[in-house]
Amino acid sequence: MADLRSAAVPPIGPTDHVRGSGPEAILYLDLACPRCAAEWPMVKRLGLRLCVRHFPLAAKRPRSLALHAAAEAAALQRADGFWALWDSIYADHGHLDDPHLWERARRLGLELTRFDADRRSEVVAARVQADFRGGIRAGVAGTPTAFIGGERIAGDLLASLESEVPL
């Protein structure tokens, strides 16, 4: 059985999706979460080294798992595929069904047959679940949730992240 007892938030590792430079922030996000979509455009512009992790609440948001798996599948074909699809999903939250994902993948120049096979693969599902389990163990109880210096941010996420950016 997977161990879901309390543990510190996993430090940023080689398999994480990281971008930007500055103080580190680890974010647990759900690609189908409207609040995450609303805050992402502001968060991504902050002068921070951002690590995003998958935290799909699948029962609440039926498209969550498919979206997170799609982002991982894009990463398997293009070095910048993960971030390209990630940003594209948050930028247009009204088109999240499979045909919309195929269209996004096509615009990114991904090979569609492989994209579809990859996003349904066990490897991709395990990658998404690993992030989710790490979040559960660190006490993530909703999205968006952020950690700075290993500590979970309570209260206004955007304001707390902004306060981390050096002046």
């Binding site: 543990a7 699948a58 909703g142």
Partner: protein
């Protein structure tokens, strides 16, 4: 809040289908009672959605998770459907909050339960409790697994 080591107060409450559920029906299984303030509140929605995702692992650990609030059965039913929840939700609606009070989880000035977890063992004894410092603070699912691990040792 009720103390670990106490006998869990007996109850019979209607569930989300309006059918009576008694504490005694959980004898022989561990029961994690999750008292929460309100159906449809964003924070309660987040809490129960996260617990829903780890419901299989809670079952693997030999426990059943059951939610309780002072909302009625019809509201519970709609709340479950909205969030895709599979857990039983019990309605402490009438007399309002009576069972929640018996577990020491009722906030009188607010008229709803505090966010609290109570682990009842196979013999009906309270083994672990957690009360949130404020209704806005969600106890992570990790605390449920810590408690189940602690009680099984």
């Amino acid at each position: 809040m009720i103390e670990p080591g106490s006998e869990a107060p007996a109850f019979t409450l209607p569930d989300h289908r309006g059918e009576d559920v008694s504490l005694s029906s959980f004898r022989g299984r561990k029961l994690m009672l999750c008292f929460y303030p309100n159906d449809f509140s964003p924070v309660c929605g987040d809490q129960l959605s996260v617990y829903q995702e780890v419901r299989p692992q809670i079952a693997e650990a030999g426990a059943e998770l059951v939610g309780i609030s002072t909302d009625g059965s019809w509201a519970h039913n709609a709340f479950r459907k909205q969030l895709g929840l599979e857990m039983t939700l019990l309605s402490d609606f009438h007399p309002k909050g009576e069972v929640t009070r018996a577990y020491g989880a009722y906030i009188e000035e607010r008229g709803h339960p505090n966010r609290s977890l109570v682990l009842v063992d196979e013999q009906g004894i309270v083994r672990w409790v957690h009360e949130s410092p404020s209704p806005l603070e969600i106890p992570g699912a990790n605390l449920i697994f810590d408690a189940l691990d602690q009680v099984s040792q």
